[in-house]
């Protein structure tokens, strides 16, 4: 019961903080009389979101598809690439520093290249999302694999296990805590990448994603809609981050059982 109430408090605290900030924002806008073109009230943003709910829902789904696809590609490439780089010393010395430099190139500057290669539309948003999200997964995988306990590897060596078997049964599971850290970072980045990709790829119509909604609303000076689209993109990122965190917790938490259960079984 105590643990449950602690969990409830953990969840309630940020929600209360959001509520307090929203009320303060509302009061401040009314009190100062600032133009809604510069800073609309939270209630006005909510109202706009409600009135455009169908369009915004469709946009959110589009952006979520781009971000999820980018995240899935980044996860696959990051884990496979990281495993290969960690296993081959030559690649670790040559490719890894190169990847470190490449990930420092600003995505906004590179995104137009994807338009040239992939054209306008969803593929560009997915590519931008994957490119920005892949590096944290790659780096975390390499770090995780390189810090696998040498003693455990000797157990596999004694049994004559192949490199592939050892990777499946030891290296990858042992690296999960590190990889999950990379995936949590990648989850947030994949949404940023998708939005940037949408900015440059400029596809609209019935399936306009959140990035396009933001750009269109900006041109039309509909600040409340800009805020609404931004809030929804943040929610997409938050949900993805939350799912990855929960999966990571479920995978890793049970390894570190509490001392209480140790006492139960000690004899």
């Amino acid at each position: 019961m105590k643990r449950l109430s602690e969990k409830m408090r953990e969840i309630a605290a940020p929600l209360i903080a959001v509520g307090v900030i929203a009320v303060a924002w509302e009061v401040a806008v009314i009190a100062t009389g600032v133009s809604p073109l510069l800073l609309p009230r939270p209630t006005a943003i909510g109202q706009t979101m409600w009135m455009n709910s169908e369009m915004l829902l469709s946009a959110t789904v589009q952006t979520a598809i781009a971000a999820l696809s980018g995240f899935a590609i980044a996860t696959t490439l990051g884990i496979i690439g990281g495993s290969v780089i960690a296993a081959v010393p030559v690649l670790r010395r040559s490719i890894y520093p190169l990847a470190t430099i490449v990930q420092m190139v600003p995505l906004v500057a590179v995104a137009p290249l994807f338009v040239i290669w992939l054209g306008f539309g969803l593929p560009t948003a997915i590519a931008a999302s994957a490119v920005v999200a892949v590096f944290p997964v790659l780096a975390a995988t390499i770090d995780g694999l390189r810090s696998v306990d040498h003693g455990l590897r000797e157990i596999f060596a004694l049994a004559g296990a192949s490199t592939w078997t050892r990777w499946r049964k030891l290296d990858l599971p042992a690296s999960i805590p590190a990889i999950m850290t990379g995936l949590r970072i990648a989850a947030g980045l994949s949404v940023i990448g998708a939005i940037v990709g949408e900015f440059v790829s400029g596809y609209g119509g019935a399936h306009a994603p959140l990035g396009i909604v933001v750009m269109t609303a900006m041109r039309e000076a509909r600040t409340d809609l800009v805020f609404g689209a931004v809030a929804l993109s943040a929610i997409v990122g938050f949900v993805l981050f939350g799912v990855v965190s929960i999966v990571g917790w479920l995978l890793v938490n049970r390894w570190h059982a509490s001392g209480q259960s140790e006492m139960e079984i000690r004899r």
């Binding site: 003693g151 004694l158 049994a159 004559g160 296990a161 570190h256 059982a257 079984i265």
Partner: protein, 256 residues
């Protein structure tokens, strides 16, 4: 039960990458089915010796051979030789039963058979009820028993024990020693035990190889028969004293 090989070390030397000479011309024989203890101060090369025997390190010169009763070489395959290290080295995400079954899994044994064999070894090790526990839920002594069960699950002919009791308290050590003795008697494996503890060596071993500065200083044959190895007896204390004296001579503390 398959025939157990004798382990023969001939002129074994090993220089570590750091330049330290870990072994110098080490020669001795582990009797087939016997239990031999390797004892000596830290850094005398006993763990290096065990690692070379396990195939985890290479000798600079000399060789270790596994010989059958008829004198022919025994090509020890994976699973025939098992090692229990001083740390349990269990996979933290696997239940006890899956940790114990790991060597069988890596040898390609089917799930049903390997679980049955692991359950049998777990039962013999007195770990009933712990099958579904994770390593983090076990005490240090229980983890070592799981590691020992994992080493035995393939029914090895050669068993190498690298200070398996070093990380547990004296009480648990005595319990584990009883366990090792039972395991060795049941399996009949040719066993090499690296240890710091003289009383443990006297309690368990047929022969004690005393090492000093990367060399074999002397080999002591334990005079007590198995039935008289009661730790509280006068005869046991005298035997321990004898080995202690050899150790003190090896360490240069006492003049022979």
């Amino acid at each position: 039960m398959s025939d157990k090989p004798a382990v023969v070390c001939e002129g074994l030397s090993c220089t570590l990458p750091s330049g330290v000479q870990a072994l110098r011309d080490v020669s001795f024989r582990l009797q087939a089915g016997g239990l031999t203890a390797i004892i000596g101060p830290s850094g005398c090369g006993k763990t290096t010796l065990l690692r070379i025997a396990a195939g985890l390190a290479r000798a600079t010169s000399g060789r270790i051979q596994f010989l059958r009763r008829d004198g022919s070489a025994d090509p020890i395959r994976a699973g025939h030789l098992a090692v229990c290290f001083q740390d349990a080295r269990l996979l933290p995400w696997r239940k006890v039963v899956d940790n114990v079954a790991l060597p069988l899994e890596l040898a390609g044994v089917g799930r049903r058979e390997r679980v049955a064999r692991a359950e049998a070894v777990i039962h013999a090790a007195g770990l009933d009820g712990a099958q579904s526990r994770l390593p983090a839920q076990l005490s240090g002594g229980m983890r070592m028993r799981v590691a020992l069960a994992r080493a035995l699950v393939t029914d090895p002919t050669v068993l190498l024990l690298d200070e398996p009791c070093s990380s547990v308290d004296e009480f648990t050590r005595m319990q584990l020693d009883e366990e090792i003795l039972r395991v060795w008697q049941d399996s009949g494996a040719t066993t090499m035990l690296v240890t710091h503890s003289v009383s443990e060596a006297v309690f368990l071993a047929d022969e004690i190889v005393i090492m000093r500065r990367a060399r074999v200083h002397s080999i002591h044959r334990v005079a007590l028969d198995r039935a008289s190895r009661d730790r509280t007896s006068h005869a046991f204390s005298q035997e321990v004293e004898l080995v202690m004296r050899s150790l003190a001579v090896a360490a240069g503390v006492v003049v022979p």
